[in-house]
Amino acid sequence: MLEVAGIRHSYQSQLVLDLPHWRADEGDQWLLHGPSGCGKSTLLHILGGLLTPSEGIVTLAGTELGTLRGAAGDRYRGRHIGIVFQQLHLIDAITVRQNLTLAQRFAGLPVDEARATEILTVLGLADKANAFPFALSHGQAQRVALARALINRPAVVLADEPTSNLDDENAARALALLRDQARAHGSALVIASHDGRIKDAFEKRLELPARREAAA
């Protein structure tokens, strides 16, 4: 379903990622794991169509991302890929509900207020629909970010370091929510993390080898 082949990526001619082949099937839950600087975020961006790899191809649900140019690629990303950022990046100028409907509009989908209400209710945020993001607790903001990633029922959800900076209890809770909701929406889940605490929770793990900083 989500497949990469012959991926190599370099920043300023320094190779940071070399992945000959990897695939995730529908509904799979994967952990990209490895030490800091091994290229987890880079791979996640490549999978999400935010970054074009120096070499190699990414295929999502039969569509090769590299063949989609400009606006078509943006729309495809908006529709089929949900991303939860480490810093959440909710848009502070607009309300929680507007953050969700904006995701619908930018994906080129009709705005569906009922769907927004539904997912906010599922995530226990019904009373925060008209609140502004800066007025939310971190846990609430995390759930809004998750709701925004899931609202368009994407084929895959990508999450970068969802548990960093959280204590054990909150890390476990955040991870459980992410996994449950991805499963409930029928979305595959790919998490990038160097957090040793969550390593054993995943059957499917992609270990990325550490890279020597100055390796040519």
């Binding site: 935010l50 529709r79 100028a93 930018f106 925004r148």
Partner: protein, 416 residues
């Protein structure tokens, strides 16, 4: 959450900055709008009052003063000319019509103008009520004199010497209001019309005290003849000014020069003097306009600075929007929309401000001076103010929008 709502949301995120730029733009655009309204209405008003009058003849002095006092009834007259000279001019083949005026008195600031029936006829004035003046010391008043000056038919009033209220009163020879004119939108609305003989009579008594009664009776009788004072008046009498219409265009080239060189009278051309007046007014207006343009440009720079500075904080928002599916074009349009929205709202506020000020200033000017300014009217140049605002907003937002367009999403998000 459409593009407009999003733009408004971002503008509301920095309320002080937004308000400041709106204010700057509104004052600039408002000033320009006010100047447009003022010059347009002044010009139209001057042209309407002077329409059809080819030349004004009066006592020697400033030609501008002659035009101002005899057509627009502001400023004081340059003096009087003898009726004999006027009669000679009336006989000239190049002259089609002459409207004689005898000025000098006023009532509550409204000027009393001795003239003949061709004066109101020239402005196509009609009676709203009553009759035209006929008998000695009868007066027909302009619409404003009635509505604001409070005179009605049957009222008896004494003229005051001079153009401002408060001059010595001609109490022995009061006028009687016999008619009220319908509004004409011209200077006539603010005038009290009577016969030239009435003005003579008032002044004869004033000058020679009470024992000149017989004499004035005699003068008054002479008015009844057709053709008026130019046909039958005593050549030794005086009038203040003559509004002249030419029979053909060649007259404009010959008559004024002839009069100025060969008679003790002065000829002035309204078209020329109005152009000169507008030039003088225009010089002052240019100063204001430059000030307004500086304000508008500062507002443009303010909008640019606001969007440019906001961009630093909005890089993540923009990257996230792109991640959510927004195209580069969507982001570009979003930032442009913000600039244009700010500029258009500022311009609309400015137009409201300009028209509001015009209405306020208009009601004050009407009382203090004889200047007419209304706020509830449009000048077609104003549409250009809106177009200009759209362009200003777009230009101010262009660089920030291009910066946003070029953002490398992966790089921005990797840093967060």
């Amino acid at each position: 959450m459409n593009a407009l709502a999003l733009a408004i949301a971002y503008l509301r995120r920095r309320p002080l900055n937004t308000a400041l730029n709106l204010l700057l733009l509104a004052i600039g655009v408002g000033t320009i709008a006010l100047l447009l309204l003022f010059t347009d209405q002044l010009q139209k008003r001057l042209q309407r009052d002077a329409d059809g009058i080819d030349m004004v003849v009066g006592a020697k002095g400033s030609p501008m003063q002659l035009i101002l006092s005899s057509i627009f009834h502001v400023d004081i007259p340059t003096g009087n000319v003898s009726l004999g000279n006027a009669q000679t001019l009336a006989a000239n083949a190049m002259v089609r019509e002459i409207i004689p005026l005898a000025l000098g008195d006023s009532f509550r600031g409204y000027r009393i103008v001795g003239s003949e029936q061709n004066y109101p006829a020239h402005y196509r004035a009609e009676l709203a009520d009553g009759a035209w003046w006929q008998e000695p010391l009868e007066a027909t008043i302009g619409a404003t004199v009635s509505s604001e000056g409070g005179l009605v038919i049957g009222d008896i009033f004494a003229g005051a010497h001079g153009m401002a209220s408060g001059g010595a009163q001609h109490a022995e020879t009061p006028y009687r209001v016999v008619g009220v004119m319908a509004p004409t939108g011209t200077v006539l609305d603010r005038l009290i019309l009577t016969s030239i003989e009435s003005v003579w009579e008032v002044h004869a008594i004033h000058d020679e005290e009470a024992d000149a009664h017989d004499d004035t009776e005699h003068i008054v009788e002479s008015q009844s003849g057709s053709g008026g004072v130019l046909a039958h008046g005593d050549p030794d009498q005086e009038v203040t000014a003559l509004l002249v219409k030419f029979r053909n265009p060649i007259a404009a080239a010959q008559l004024p020069r002839q009069i100025n060189m060969q008679t003790p009278m002065q000829a002035a051309l309204p078209g020329y003097e109005i152009a000169r007046l507008m030039q003088l007014v225009g010089a002052g207006i240019d100063g204001f306009r430059a000030f307004a343009v500086v304000l508008v440009i500062s507002a443009g720079l303010g909008i640019f600075a606001a969007l440019y500075n906001a961009l630093a904080q909005r890089r993540y928002d923009i990257a996230v929007m792109r991640a959510l599916g927004a195209t580069r074009g969507t982001i570009l349009r979003q930032i442009l929309l913000e600039g244009v929205l700010l500029a258009v709202v500022g311009a609309v506020l400015g137009l409201l401000l300009g028209h509001g000020t015009a209405a306020l200033a208009g009601s004050w000017l009407r009382q203090e001076h004889q200047i007419h300014l209304v706020g509830l009217t449009w000048v077609h140049e104003e549409i250009w103010l809106i177009v200009m605002a759209v362009a200003l907003g777009a230009v101010a937002a262009l660089l920030p929008a291009l910066q946003a367009y070029r953002i490398d999403i992966s790089k921005v998000l990797a840093r967060g």
